[in-house]
Each structure stands twice: as structure tokens, then as C-alpha cells.
């Protein structure tokens, strides 16, 4: 048994994904041995990210302040909304430089197995945005997985007849995550998106 503060640090570190108890212990001792300034910088960074980074009140992308950088950018095309599952999915799309519209982050995908119903995602907020703003096209860029496809279909049905709805062209490997798709493939998928409703 370690002194209580070390035990606490190990417990907290072990909550991180991919970190088992052994790794957590190794990291805890690394922190213990490191310079005070380095260790405190880590603690500060953790605090800052939680204090300063929240979700954009419009699109639910990560934001430092009430609105994210995409929503704040006046040059973006406000008639276009790209729907993704997670904030992390925005980054690879931005990297392609193919897309100049806005985003909407659902916060996951429909999955009855995991108890995730439409009400658990930011679908109602998307429908509101489409109704309120000058939106003409919604691009469904959920992952090409079973849950992602089902989510895309669900959203498409809700918006049918109100705006043009497109789905990213195939070319993304089936079952893959957007997050891990390379820029060229993703760029091509954007250029060739197809109307679904």
C-alpha cells in the first residue's frame, strides 16, 4: 500500500482510457520523481482545459468561449451544416480544406445496446437550427458503421423535404471511424457526397 496521495493519483490515472493499474502506478511514480514545475504544469493544464474549453452553444464542437472557431469565422458558408458524431470528427474534415460550411456535433450515435436513444443525442437542436437559420444543405458525416448509418438515416428522415440532405460518398472503408480516415479519402468523400433526401 502506498501513501494515500499516491494511491489517489494512481486511482485517478487508472480511470483514463487504455491505462491499467500498472501503467497508472508507473506514471504516478514518474510524476513524483519529476521537477515540481513540470508536475504542476500538468496539473494546471488539466485544470485549464476543464475551465476554458466547453462546447459551442450553437454546434456543440469544442469551444474556448461560448462559440467555436468555426461558428465565429464569418467566412464560413452558413447555408451548409455537416453532421458528425464527436468533436474529434471535426478535425480530419477541417484538414481536408474541402469543406467551408458549419458543423453540428451529435455527441454520439444511436445504439439501443448502449441505451442511446434519439433524445440522448443533439438531434432536436439540429432540427431547430435547420428551421431557424438559412440552411439549405445538411451533410451527414456520421461514421460508416452500423450505428453511424442508422443515425444518418434517422436524421435524414427527420429533415426530409426541408433541406437537401447528402451523405458522404462511399470510399471510406466500411466500419471505419472518420477520426482515423486519411485526408485524401475524406476529401474525395466530401467532393462526391450524394443526395439521400
Amino acid at each position: 500500500m502506498y501513501p494515500q496521495p499516491i494511491e489517489r493519483l494512481v486511482t485517478e490515472l487508472a480511470k483514463l482510457p487504455g491505462i491499467g493499474r500498472q501503467t497508472a502506478q508507473r506514471l504516478a511514480f514518474h510524476v513524483l520523481r519529476s521537477e515540481d514545475a513540470d508536475a504542476l504544469a500538468l496539473a494546471d493544464a488539466v485544470r485549464e482545459v476543464k475551465e476554458k474549453v466547453g462546447l459551442c452553444e450553437a454546434c456543440f464542437n469544442l469551444a474556448e468561449g461560448p462559440r467555436c472557431v468555426v461558428c465565429e469565422d464569418r467566412r464560413r458558408d452558413r447555408s451548409l451544416i455537416c453532421v458528425v458524431e464527436q468533436p474529434a470528427d471535426v478535425i480530419p474534415i477541417e484538414r481536408t480544406h474541402e469543406y467551408r460550411g458549419l458543423y453540428h456535433v451529435l455527441g454520439g450515435a444511436l445504439s439501443p445496446i448502449d441505451g442511446i436513444d434519439p433524445e440522448d443525442l443533439r438531434i432536436a437542436e439540429l432540427v431547430d437550427r435547420v428551421g431557424a437559420d438559412e440552411v439549405t444543405e445538411v451533410v451527414l458525416a456520421t461514421n460508416p458503421t452500423t450505428t453511424g448509418e442508422a443515425t444518418a438515416h434517422h436524421v435524414a428522415e427527420l429533415l426530409r423535404g426541408r433541406v437537401t440532405i447528402t451523405r458522404l460518398a462511399s470510399g471510406l472503408p466500411v466500419g471505419a471511424d472518420l477520426e482515423h480516415a486519411d485526408e485524401v479519402t475524406l476529401g474525395r468523400a466530401f467532393a462526391g457526397r450524394q443526395s439521400v433526401g
Binding site: L110, S111, P112, I113, P118, T147, E149, A150, H154, G175
Partner: protein
């Protein structure tokens, strides 16, 4: 693609031994209990990474030993590769290709496997699930690019069933079934089409081989899907119609996960009314039909692992069996109690097995020498 040798350690009654195989027919012969079937199992395990006889691979470990091992050397386009499967009581199962963990893709580097063993008869006389998954396995061997369809269907089915359960528990909205009906139907229609195409490829060959093996002149193989929907929207509509029943039952009672691969003779189901002999012949006919379909598509012939296949056939049917086995090349491992169970005319490589050990040339020389002295 040739399996050149199989080496075994402590697998059932086989201690440590290695058997060289010929490129065509290989006859493993010896008295009952000598270990012939265990050698077939070893070849299967080495290549597939699991046993074809048991769900718990540890059953294959010899009594009192910590682990069992089977290794097969496969030669293809000038390269030799080692497939090794080990099962340990403490650490479970490992499958290695040239010393590193074998991936699902490594199956392309070895022949496909077709197994005839008495316990495999469950495929013919058991419930439809076994035949469905066998047909899906054949689709996967024929069209590796389409394996995602089956997986996608299974995932959508699991999600829909979970949703049905949540609706029953009052935790979800029945209207949310629309989404999953659509998803299930999209994958379902593709799955039905793949299975139908596969069954149409198999049917003529099945009929001919079944007749050659004396099963019946009018044996047939037919895919019988529940739904005849031709597009996702129709299948989704069929699912929607049956929603109340699904909610009462607690799971999805319609779709290709309930389909049947129907094997018949004389217009009657071989599953229900076939004799033991007819069921054996039907299993063989199915394996040969698949072999022929793979060959017709330019694939390598599967490695045929046939346990005690000839004992119940008369000499005419044995000859026809051998004709089917050598047609188009490829390898077969066949067990028999006597070498005469395979027609003498057939070119083959013989391996005699006694008491858990294949006899080496030296063994045979010693036996002959001993007999001469006695």
C-alpha cells in the same frame, strides 16, 4: 498450394510425430483408436487455429500434458509458411503464422478446409442455424469482399433486439424502430441476395454428386428465405407489419437470420426423414459441391479432411468418390481402417498409423524384418 507436412505434439492420443503429405490423395490408415481422426483434427487445428471437433479446444490436449500443438507447413508459389496452433491448459489458444499471431487475412495463404466427420452430421440433421452459418461461411470463402454484409446484418439485428427489449421495458419509443428496421433491411436484402446466388451455384453440383454417391437421383439443395423482398423498403415494411409480434416475443421474428438451406431427397427433408447413410451422403455432396464451385471460380481446391468416408459405400460409389476427389486437383486426407477401402487404382500417398504414432519407413522395415525372423 500444398500442405507438405503436419507435426503434432500431445494432441489427444498422438504424442510427438510428424507426417509428410503428398500433393493429392493421402490415405491415413490403421485400426480404430489408432489416432487417424486425431491427425485430421491436427491438420485442421494447425491451419484454422481451432478444433473442428469441440468448442473447448483444451479437450484436445493429451491427458496429463500441459499443452497440445499442431503445425502445418504450406507451400505456395515457391514459399513455405508455417501455420501453428497451440492450446495450453493455463493460457488458452494461440494461432501463429510464421511465428507471429495469425490474422483473419492469413486464411488466404492456406487452402480452404472442408471437413467430413461423424459429428459434422449435425450440419445436416441439426437445426437451420448450422446450415445458415455454413452457407455464410461458403459465401465468405467465395467472396471475401462481402463478409461485411453478414457482420453488418448481425450488428443491426443485435441493436434492433436490444431496442425491442427497451421498448418492452418502457425505456424507449416504439417509433425509434423505424431507424433499425431500415438498417436491418438494408443489410438483410444484401445478405439474402448473396445466399441465393451461392445456393444457385451449389445446387446443380449438389444434385449430381448426391446422385453419384447413391443418395438419391432427385436430391436437391435450395435456399429458402423467409422474406422474398427484393429491396430494403419492402423488407422494412414486412418488419414493420410484424412489430407487435416482435414486441410480444421480445426479439426479431422475421428476416434472414431465420432462413433455411433446405436439403431434400424424394421431396422430403433430409434433416427430418433422411437415413444416417443419406445424411452422410448429403454432407459429402455439400462439401463436394462447394469444392466444385470454388474451382469453377478459379480458387484453389479446398483441403478435404474426410474421416471414415468410404466404409459405408460400395465399390462403385467409392470409385465415384475418388473421381470427385481428384477432379481439378487439390489435396485430401482420408482415413480408413484398411488401405483397400480406397480403390487400388487411385494414386495416393499412404500413412499407416498404430497406437498414436504414424509408422516411419524404419518402423515398417523393422516390422517386416521381425516378421521374416519369426
Amino acid at each position: 498450394m500444398v500442405v507438405e507436412s503436419v507435426a503434432v505434439l500431445d494432441l489427444r492420443n498422438l504424442a510427438a510425430c510428424e507426417v509428410e503429405l503428398g500433393p493429392g490423395l493421402n490415405l491415413l490408415w490403421g485400426p480404430n483408436g489408432a489416432g487417424k481422426t486425431n491427425l485430421l483434427e491436427a491438420a485442421y487445428m494447425a491451419l484454422a487455429g481451432r478444433s473442428c471437433r469441440t468448442r473447448d479446444d483444451r479437450e484436445a490436449i493429451a491427458f496429463g500434458k500441459p499443452l497440445a500443438r499442431a503445425e502445418a507447413v504450406v507451400a505456395a508459389s515457391g514459399q513455405r509458411r508455417s501455420f501453428l496452433c497451440s492450446v495450453s491448459r493455463s493460457e488458452g489458444r494461440r494461432h501463429l503464422l510464421d511465428g507471429s499471431a495469425a490474422s483473419p487475412e492469413s486464411a488466404a495463404l492456406r487452402p480452404a478446409l472442408a471437413v467430413f466427420m461423424p459429428d459434422r452430421l449435425a450440419l445436416i440433421k441439426g437445426p437451420p442455424a448450422g446450415r445458415r452459418s455454413h452457407l455464410d461461411g461458403f459465401c465468405a470463402a467465395l467472396w471475401p469482399g462481402r463478409t461485411e454484409t453478414k457482420r453488418r446484418y448481425s450488428r443491426a439485428l443485435a441493436q434492433r433486439n436490444a431496442l425491442v427489449g427497451r421498448i418492452r421495458a418502457g425505456a424507449a419509443d416504439p417509433a425509434s424502430l423505424d431507424t433499425w428496421d431500415h438498417e436491418l433491411a438494408t443489410a438483410g436484402v444484401e445478405l439474402i441476395a448473396d445466399r441465393r446466388e451461392a445456393a444457385e451455384l451449389l445446387a446443380p453440383a449438389f444434385e449430381q454428386v448426391a446422385s453419384d454417391l447413391g443418395l438419391a437421383a432427385d436430391a436437391s439443395l435450395r435456399y429458402r428465405p423467409r422474406s422474398t423482398a427484393a429491396d430494403p423498403a419492402s423488407l422494412a415494411a414486412e418488419l414493420a407489419e410484424r412489430r407487435d409480434a416482435d414486441l410480444a416475443r421480445g426479439h426479431t421474428g422475421w428476416g434472414p437470420h431465420l432462413d433455411e438451406l433446405l436439403l431434400e431427397a424424394g421431396g422430403r427433408s433430409l434433416r427430418r426423414y433422411g437415413s444416417q447413410g443419406q445424411q452422410r451422403a448429403a454432407l459429402l455432396a455439400l462439401l463436394f459441391a462447394e469444392r466444385r464451385a470454388l474451382l469453377a471460380d478459379g480458387r484453389p481446391a479446398p483441403l478435404m479432411l474426410l474421416d471414415d468416408v468410404a466404409s459405408e459405400l460400395d465399390s462403385e460409389h467409392r470409385s465415384l468418390l475418388v473421381e470427385h476427389l481428384v477432379e481439378g486437383g487439390g489435396q485430401a486426407l482420408i482415413t480408413a481402417t484398411e488401405p483397400e477401402q480406397l480403390p487400388r487404382s487411385a494414386q495416393r500417398h499412404e500413412v499407416a498409423i498404430r497406437a498414436g504414432r504414424p509408422l516411419t519407413a524404419a518402423d515398417r522395415g523393422r516390422i517386416r524384418g521381425g516378421e521374416a525372423a519369426a
